[in-house]
Subunit: 227 residues, 2 copies
């Protein structure tokens, strides 16, 4: 009756997987995930997260340094990458097979990511032709936990006049995604950076459909493959 897959260590359930997922993503940016950030991402209080982190540490899924932060153990990372793989495959499936818009898929995928089983995961992967990225361009971890090597750079790191193909739009904000999609700024689109106004001013981007001007906060979530 448990949802955990037979290959899972005991007690690996929804809550656990969501914690590991969040810790993985936070430790991509800084070297350790701190309690308050984890709590925010999960919508729980810092004290709740603190207690849970201690339990995850007892279960050897996270490495915890009190008052300093948490990182994943290799087992924790394995489970996190599996969840992220499933999440991104689901996003791709919802988008490509079921026709949901790219700004809608994150929520649905989140609800499903801990419920799907390995055969489902594998079948989606097959049907999608073993995709390497989700609709937003995030990398889909392979089953062995490795990630494809890519050459994504921030759009804003391009020299004005330089060209690249959008590869990733890095946000979980559905509104932003919807807006950027409407402006024609999504993975696969070849763009030229025309200019960045100073002091955080607007960014002008040339797309196949014409020039688009967006704020820097939006521009900085766009990653491109240069040239």
């Amino acid at each position: 009756m448990s949802k955990a897959t037979y290959t899972d260590p005991a007690g690996v359930n929804d809550a656990t997987l969501h914690y590991l997922d969040v810790i993985y993503r936070l430790t991509q940016q800084s070297d350790a995930a701190n309690t308050t950030e984890i709590a925010e991402k999960l919508g729980v209080t810092p004290s709740g997260a603190s207690v849970m982190l201690k339990r995850l540490a007892e279960r050897k899924l996270v490495q915890l340094t009190p008052y300093k932060g948490a990182t994943l153990t290799s087992e924790g990372r394995r489970l996190a990458l599996r969840t992220i793989r499933r999440h991104r495959l689901l996003e791709m499936f919802l988008h490509q097979v079921m026709g949901f818009a790219w700004h809608e898929v994150d929520d649905h995928a989140h609800a499903l990511e801990t419920a799907i089983t390995e055969p489902l995961e594998d079948r989606m992967d097959e049907m999608l032709g073993h995709p390497t990225r989700c609709p937003h361009g995030h990398l889909i971890p392979r089953k062995d936990g490795t990630l494809p090597k890519v050459n994504d750079v921030p759009l804003l790191s391009l020299a004005p006049g330089a060209t690249g193909v959008i590869r990733c739009v890095d946000t979980d904000n559905g509104e932003w995604l919807k807006y950027l999609g409407e402006q024609g700024l999504q993975p696969g689109v070849r763009v030229t950076l025309r200019g960045i106004a100073p002091y955080g001013g607007p960014v002008t981007i040339e797309t196949p459909d014409g020039a688009v001007v967006i704020g820097q906060n939006l521009a900085e979530i766009i990653y491109v493959e240069p040239n």
Copy 2:
């Protein structure tokens, strides 16, 4: 962060929905679902089920007569039918769209049925062309909670020599389903009942691929549309 849909009353979660689902199915056969049966279906102890039933009664999802059994309130029935609709749509989707065999879909669908959201449900329904039955032939409740009218009768109720089209194979036993499928006994197949050996003996069924002989325990889960 809760999995419950916005339209749900508070506290409607996986466990609750699984209880309601089981109670609904049990009350299809007898007029009230008794504690031990519910507990068995859910894989919990009768005492655990008893406690949970009391809580469901407090929440006005079941009508409980102590020591007698449980039935669903209209709200409980609404939620049960929604879960069953989602389960059967999922089974259909897994079978038709994703290519899983009919004996594999029940388990996957069970894991997903409480995690999917209304847009998912609606999209699956659309993609499948608003199906009225799951791969095993069970009726898919409509969104308003009504069920299609059908004319299914037990295969074994046919007079020897009579013909009908298999409409439903009523079991959650994957092995049986696999076996019956291999024998060509699945929904849509036109069969003729050749004979029933006395004293619980084997049943001979004519299919387009030839005659098949199966035990009565298997035969009695097969329902047909006569003529």
